[in-house]
């Protein structure tokens, strides 16, 4: 029955970068899957709770999910143009955060860290001419 959950997970596994709930839903419907938006949200949350996928918020407040290779704590280097994502680990940062926290008397330190940039491919593609589509 939690077949739906697996289906949702599968969609994420097939994706390169982060996908929004609406996005996943749309794709599944497009593929002919009979599933409700509600279920997608529930599946995504369940997956996130069990640590099977990573969640993060986009700048416009949308939640995006991604099936990550490792279940360990890690961060993401995301291309702001194509969405390609690289998982990175930063032991030094973890320690730094801990240290900063303790230094100020804080306990149970957690942190959120995401790195954004333009990947090689996109930065090449973006400035061939000298009309950088300046918005």
């Amino acid at each position: 029955m939690s077949n739906r959950r697996d289906a949702v997970h599968a969609v994420l596994r097939q994706s390169e970068g982060f996908r929004s709930a609406q996005d996943v839903y749309a794709e599944m419907r497009a593929e002919g899957a009979k599933i409700g938006l509600t279920t997608v949200y529930r599946a995504l949350q369940a997956l996130a709770d069990t640590g099977h996928v990573d969640v993060l918020r986009t700048d416009d407040g949308e939640s995006v999910y991604r099936a990550c290779a490792s279940g360990d704590h890690h961060h993401h280097l995301v291309c702001r143009t194509c969405g390609r994502t690289v998982e990175v680990a930063g032991p030094a940062v973890e320690r730094w955060a801990e240290a900063i926290g303790s230094e100020h008397g804080f306990t149970e330190i957690t942190h959120t860290l995401e790195i954004f940039g333009t990947c090689a491919a996109c930065s090449t593609a973006a400035k061939p001419a000298r009309t950088p589509s300046r918005a």
Copy 2:
């Protein structure tokens, strides 16, 4: 005329931690200020654009604002219980992010980093008994 904007800014200055737009609006109304929600949002955005206040998204997608001491790039150590905020600088992290980015061929690196924890006062107040409210 941009008196409203100053008023909004003032509210933030009087606050210790991050405040949501709705929150600021409610407080201003409570103080008797005649201001509309729309205006509060606009003021907040304007302030954020000009770098007078820092913005970040809470886990539930709400935008929260804070008038920060320095206009420089810095991060926040936020108490998840009382909201008290400490501004921290982490040159090492900035460099690390840059390095990781270049290493993967990314350019125009930016990053978001927030540290959450329980401050000394709150952690003391929270565990008087031995019922750690383990969710």
